[in-house]
C-alpha cells in the first residue's frame, strides 16, 4: 500500500496527519482513545506518566503518544496484548502508592487514576506502601489544599503554573519516591508568587490539588453535582464557568457549592480562570445579596417591589433631573464587571436617550 506524504497507519487504518501533530492528537482526532494522566493540551508534553505509551513499528520500546510526532509511513498500534499488559501493570504499580477507596478519597474532582484502574481492570492485590510525600498541611491560604497522598507527581500543576500562568509558585521537590509538589521553603501559597488562580486544581488528575472551601463545608464530591454553564460576571472578558450545583442542598432550593472551569479548548477562556472567577462565589447565596428590586418608601426605607415599579421610579427620577437641571446634570457609571455589550448599552442610554456624554466605567481609563 502506498501512503501519501502526510499519511500513516493507525491500528491498520490509513489516516492523514497535519505537520507537527503528535500521535496522541491525531488519535484523539480520529476517535481512537489513548489514556493519559500527565497530558494537558495547554502544556508542553513531557511523557512522564507513561500512561500513553503505544507501539510504533521500528521502535524497540513503547513510545509516548503525547510527545512522539507523527511521521510519514509510521505504523502505530494503540491496542494489543503488550499495551494491555503495560497499562495494567503500570496502573497496578500506581495503585500500590495511592489510596484505593474512592468513597474515602474522592472528595472533589473525579479521580482519573481510579477511573483508569477500573477501566483497564488493573490488579489491586499487589500490596500497598505507606505515603511518604510531604505536604503543607499548615498552609493558611483559604482556597487551595494539597493532599500529597493523592499526588502522582505528574507535575501538571507545576507546569501549568510555569507555562500558562507564568507564575512558578510551585515546584517538584525532593526526588525518587519522596518527590512532591512544594513551594520554596514550604511556605504558604500566600507568601509566594501564587495568584490563587486555582489552575493547579483544574489540571490535577487525581484531586491531590483541591478546593478547600467545599471540603471544609462537607459538600458533595463533584461527581454528584450538576454543572450549569454560565458567564463569569467579575469582568468583561466573558470567561465561561461551570457552577457546580447541589440540587437538594439549601432546603431543596439548590446551592452552588463550587465553581470549575470548562475543559480547555471548549470556551474562550480555554479552561483558565482567575482567583475571583474560581473562588469568589460566596456572594451567590450571601444573605446581604440583593435578589429583588428595592425602592425607598416615604420614610426613606428600602422596600421590596416589582421590576416594573422600580424601573418606572428610576426613569421618572432620571427624567426629572434632566428636565430641571439639564442632561449634563446626569452621570452614568457602569462597571468593568459588566460585559462589553452591557457597557455598550449603558453608553447608548447616556448618549442617545439622555443626550449626555457623562458616562464612565472603571476599565475605561
Amino acid at each position: 500500500m502506498k501512503l501519501a506524504r502526510n499519511q500513516l497507519t493507525l491500528n491498520g487504518k490509513t489516516v492523514s496527519f497535519t505537520d507537527g501533530e503528535t500521535i496522541l492528537t491525531l488519535a484523539n482526532r480520529m476517535g481512537v482513545h489513548i489514556p493519559t494522566l500527565c497530558h494537558d493540551p495547554r502544556l508542553d508534553p513531557v511523557g512522564a506518566c507513561r500512561m500513553c505509551l503505544v507501539e510504533v513499528t521500528g521502535f524497540n520500546r513503547l513510545v509516548p503518544a503525547c510527545t512522539q510526532k507523527a511521521t510519514p509511513g509510521m505504523e502505530v498500534i494503540t491496542e494489543n496484548a503488550r499495551i494491555t499488559r503495560h497499562r495494567q501493570t503500570l496502573l497496578a504499580l500506581y495503585m500500590t502508592d495511592h489510596p484505593q477507596d474512592r468513597n474515602a478519597v474522592e472528595k472533589g474532582a473525579p479521580n482519573q487514576l481510579l477511573d483508569l484502574a477500573e477501566q483497564y481492570q488493573a490488579p489491586l492485590n499487589w500490596g500497598r506502601m505507606l505515603p511518604i510525600r510531604s505536604a503543607r498541611d499548615d498552609d493558611r491560604n483559604p482556597y487551595i489544599l494539597f493532599n500529597a497522598d493523592l499526588c502522582i507527581s505528574c507535575a501538571r500543576c507545576v507546569r501549568y503554573c510555569a507555562e500558562v500562568e507564568r507564575v512558578s509558585a510551585i515546584t517538584l521537590a525532593n526526588r525518587g519516591a519522596s518527590t512532591t509538589v512544594a513551594t520554596a521553603d514550604n511556605a504558604s501559597l500566600l507568601d509566594t508568587s501564587c495568584e490563587m488562580c486555582g489552575g493547579c486544581i483544574d489540571v490535577c488528575p487525581t484531586g491531590a490539588m483541591t478546593e478547600k472551601m467545599p471540603l471544609t463545608r462537607n459538600h458533595k464530591p463533584e461527581r454528584e453535582l450538576r454543572k450549569v454553564r454560565t458567564t463569569c460576571n467579575y469582568c468583561g472578558v466573558g470567561c465561561q464557568i461551570d457552577l457546580n450545583v447541589d440540587d437538594i442542598a439549601n432546603d431543596g432550593r439548590g446551592m452552588v457549592v463550587k465553581i470549575t472551569s470548562p475543559p480547555p479548548g471548549t470556551t474562550v477562556n480555554d479552561g483558565n480562570l482567575c482567583v475571583k472567577g474560581r473562588f469568589a462565589y460566596d456572594f451567590i447565596h450571601h444573605p446581604d445579596r440583593l435578589t429583588q428590586p428595592l425602592v425607598c418608601n416615604e420614610n426613606g426605607e428600602l422596600q421590596p417591589t416589582t421590576w416594573d415599579d422600580a424601573l418606572e421610579k428610576a426613569v421618572n427620577g432620571l427624567q426629572a433631573v434632566a428636565k430641571r437641571y439639564g442632561a449634563d446634570a446626569l452621570g452614568f457609571v457602569s462597571s468593568s464587571r459588566c460585559t462589553v455589550e452591557e457597557n455598550y448599552l449603558m453608553q447608548k442610554l447616556a448618549r442617545a436617550v439622555f443626550h449626555t456624554n457623562n458616562v464612565h466605567q472603571c476599565a475605561a481609563t
Binding site: V46, G47, A48, C49, R50, L53, R61, L62, P64, T67, R85, H86, T89, L90, A92, L93, Y94, T96, D97, W126, G127, R128, M129, I152, S153, A162, S168, A169, I170, T171, L172, A173, N174, R175, G176, A177, S178, T179, A182, T183, A184, D185, T192, S193
Partner: protein, 530 residues
C-alpha cells in the same frame, strides 16, 4: 554564547546548602523563580542535607566489608552522619565522605577515635593516604599495549593533539571509526557515530561534555584515571573538540570528586603553559550528589542548573544537547583512549582487545585479594581478571560484571568474555565494568536488597515505573529479609510484572535496569529466595 552554565546549584552550595531563605537569595541573584531554586536544591542530597557532615558509603562492596558497622559507630558517637550511595571507592572500603572529600578505608576504630567530633576524622588517618589512589594493574609503566597506561608518567607534550590539529575532522573521525572504540560509560555505543553526528550538524555552536559523574556501585576507574592520567583526558577532549568543531568543553565531575577535580584542573594548566589548548574554553562543574546525573541527558539538565531529570530520547544530545546545541558527551575513559588512538592508529587500538576493540579499565572489588583498577584486553574472563587482582577470597558464588545495573551472574558464567556483546547475550551488561565478586558467605537476597536500596535512593522520581517500582521491589525484598511480609505489603510474587513494567516503560536506563539485580538473582539463586 548566552549561557555558559547556570549558577543555581553552585550558589546554593555557597550559601551552605538549602537552608531557609537561601532560595530567595539565589532567586534574587539569578532571576530563577524561588520555587524552581528550591526544587533544584531539594533534588541534590549534598545541597538538601547540608547538616550531614559525614556520609558513609552503603554500596555493595563497602557493605560486604562492614559499612553498616562504621555507620552504626558514627551514629553511636553522635556524629552528624547519614548513609549515602556509592562513593567510587569500592576498592578501599569503607569509604566515608567528609564534606566533599572522600576518606577511603575507614574503620570502626577511627570513628571511635573522633570522640564525637566529626572534624577529627581526617584523610591522613586512613591507609589510602594521600590522593586516594588504589591498586592498579599493570603496576609498572608499560608502553606497548595499553591505551590508557595508568602507571605511566603524565605526558604533557601534546603529541597526539598536535597531530590531530594538522588533520581534518573527517580524517580524525575516520581514525576513531577504524579503532572501533565503544563508549566506556555503560552502553558501549560506537564513539565515531556520535562524533560524526555532532560534526555534521548545521548548527555551528557545538559543545563537548566530559561525563565524570562516576557513581555506579562497583565502579571507580574514572577516579583513578582523573588522578593518575589527567593528561590523557584533557588531550582527548581537545582532540574531540577539534574534530566536532567545539570551542567550549564542559567537565561534569561528581561533587565528591574534590581531589580528581583539582587533578584535572592542574592538567589543563599544564597544557596551557605549553601553549596548547589556546582557543579552547574549559568549564568545570561539580555535581551535588545525584547518581542519575551520570545519565547523559540528566547531566545536561544539571549543567543547565535544573533538577537532574533525564530527557526523553530522541532527540539525542548529538542533535539537541546542552542549551539545545549539538553536544558530544563521553565518559572519562572513552575520551582518555583518544590520544593513543590518534598517535598509534585505529588498527593498533582495535587489536589490543580480545573479543572487541581496545584495552579496558576493569574495576574489581568485593571478595578478591587486591581490589583495584586493571587495564586488560577487552573480553577477558572473570578468572583472568581476578588473577590480576591476586585471586579470590573464598569460593566464588556470584558476580556483578558491570555495576549494580548489570545484575548478578552465577559462578558458572565465569568463562563469559567480559565485553559488551557477550554479556548482553546473557541478559546482563558490561556497563561501566565495575566487577563485584561475591563469595559463598553472601546471602543473595541481602545483596539484592543493597542494590535495590541504591536504585530507590537514586531514582529521580520523574516517571512512575521507576519511582514506584524501585521502592516496591526494595520493600518486597526487605519484607522477606525481616520476615515482616503481610497480605498488604509489597510481595516478590509480583516481582516479574513489576520488573517487566520498569524495563518496558521507564524513561531512562536507571529504571530500565534497576530490577535486574533482583530478577537475575531470583533466576540464578532460587535457593536464596525460598
Amino acid at each position: 554564547m548566552n549561557h555558559i552554565k547556570s549558577d543555581v546549584p553552585e550558589l546554593i552550595q555557597q550559601q551552605g546548602g538549602l537552608k531557609p531563605d537561601v532560595s530567595k537569595q539565589v532567586s534574587r541573584h539569578t532571576g530563577v523563580a524561588e520555587a524552581d531554586v528550591y526544587g533544584v536544591g531539594s533534588f541534590f542530597h549534598l545541597l538538601s542535607r547540608s547538616d550531614k557532615k559525614l556520609r558513609v558509603c552503603t554500596g555493595l562492596s563497602c557493605q560486604m566489608a562492614g559499612a553498616d558497622k562504621v555507620l552504626q559507630a558514627a551514629l553511636d558517637a553522635g556524629l552528624p552522619v547519614e548513609p549515602c550511595s556509592c562513593l567510587a571507592a569500592c576498592d578501599q572500603p569503607t569509604a566515608v565522605l567528609r564534606d566533599r572529600e572522600v576518606i577511603p578505608g575507614v574503620q570502626v576504630e577511627e570513628i571511635k577515635q573522633t570522640g564525637g567530633d566529626w572534624t577529627k576524622l581526617k584523610q591522613e588517618m586512613s591507609p589510602g593516604g594521600k590522593g586516594w589512589l588504589g591498586h592498579i594493574g599493570p603496576s609498572v609503566e608499560n608502553d606497548g599495549d595499553l591505551a590508557i597506561n595508568l602507571a605511566g608518567a603524565p605526558d604533557w607534550s601534546g603529541t597526539a593533539l598536535r597531530m590531530a590539529l594538522t588533520r581534518s575532522a573527517n580524517h580524525i573521525i575516520a581514525i576513531i571509526k577504524s579503532s572501533e572504540l565503544q563508549g566506556r560509560g555503560g552502553a558501549g555505543f560506537p564513539a565515531h557515530i556520535k562524533w560524526q553526528a555532532v560534526q555534521s550538524q548545521s548548527e555551528p555552536e557545538r559543545y563537548v561534555v566530559l561525563n565524570a559523574d562516576e557513581g555506579e556501585p562497583g565502579t571507580f576507574k574514572d577516579r583513578e584515571l582523573l588522578m593518575r592520567r589527567p593528561d590523557r583526558i584533557v588531550e582527548g577532549l581537545a582532540i574531540a573538540a577539534h574534530a566536532v568543531g567545539a570551542k567550549d568543553v564542559f567537565l561534569y565531575l561528581r561533587g565528591e570528586f574534590a581531589y580528581p577535580k583539582k587533578s584535572i584542573e592542574l592538567a589543563i594548566q599544564q597544557f596551557r603553559q605549553r601553549g596548547l589548548l589556546a582557543d579552547l574554553r574549559f568549564h568545570s562543574h561539580s555535581g551535588q550528589g545525584a547518581y542519575i546525573c551520570g545519565e547523559e541527558t540528566a547531566l545536561l539538565e544539571a549543567l543547565e542548573g535544573k533538577r537532574g531529570m533525564p530527557r526523553l530520547k530522541p532527540p539525542f544530545p548529538v542533535e539537541v544537547g546542552l542549551w539545545g546545541k549539538p553536544t558530544l558527551i563521553h565518559n572519562v575513559e572513552t575520551i582518555a583512549c583518544v590520544p593513543e588512538i590518534i598517535k598509534r592508529g585505529g588498527d593498533w587500538f582495535k587489536n589490543l582487545g580480545r573479543t572487541a576493540a581496545g584495552t579496558k579499565l576493569y574495576c574489581i572489588s568485593g571478595h578478591v585479594q587486591k581490589p583495584g583498577t586493571y587495564e586488560l584486553p577487552l573480553g577477558i574472563t572473570l578468572d583472568e581478571l581476578v588473577e590480576s587482582a591476586g585471586g579470590y577470597i573464598g569460593k566464588l558464588k556470584a558476580f556483578c560484571p558491570g555495576g549494580a545495573s548489570s545484575g548478578f551472574l552465577p559462578a558458572d558464567k565465569r568463562n563469559i568474555a567480559l565485553d559488551f556483546q557477550a554479556l548482553a547475550a546473557v541478559g546482563s551488561m558490561l556497563g561501566s565494568a565495575g566487577v563485584i565478586v561475591l563469595n559463598d558467605t553472601v546471602d543473595m537476597k541481602w545483596a539484592v536488597g543493597q542494590q535495590l536500596r541504591f536504585f530507590e535512593d537514586e531514582s529521580c522520581g520523574q516517571c512512575a515505573p521507576c519511582r514506584i517500582g524501585t521502592r516496591y521491589l526494595r520493600e518486597a525484598v526487605n519484607a522477606e529479609l525481616n520476615g515482616s511480609a503481610t497480605m498488604h505489603s509489597p510481595n516478590l510474587k509480583f516481582a516479574e510484572d513489576v520488573a517487566w513494567q520498569m524495563n518496558e516503560a521507564s524513561i531512562c536506563g536507571l529504571g530500565q535496569t534497576a530490577s535486574l539485580a533482583l530478577t537475575s538473582a531470583m533466576t540464578y539463586f532460587p535457593e536464596d529466595f525460598q
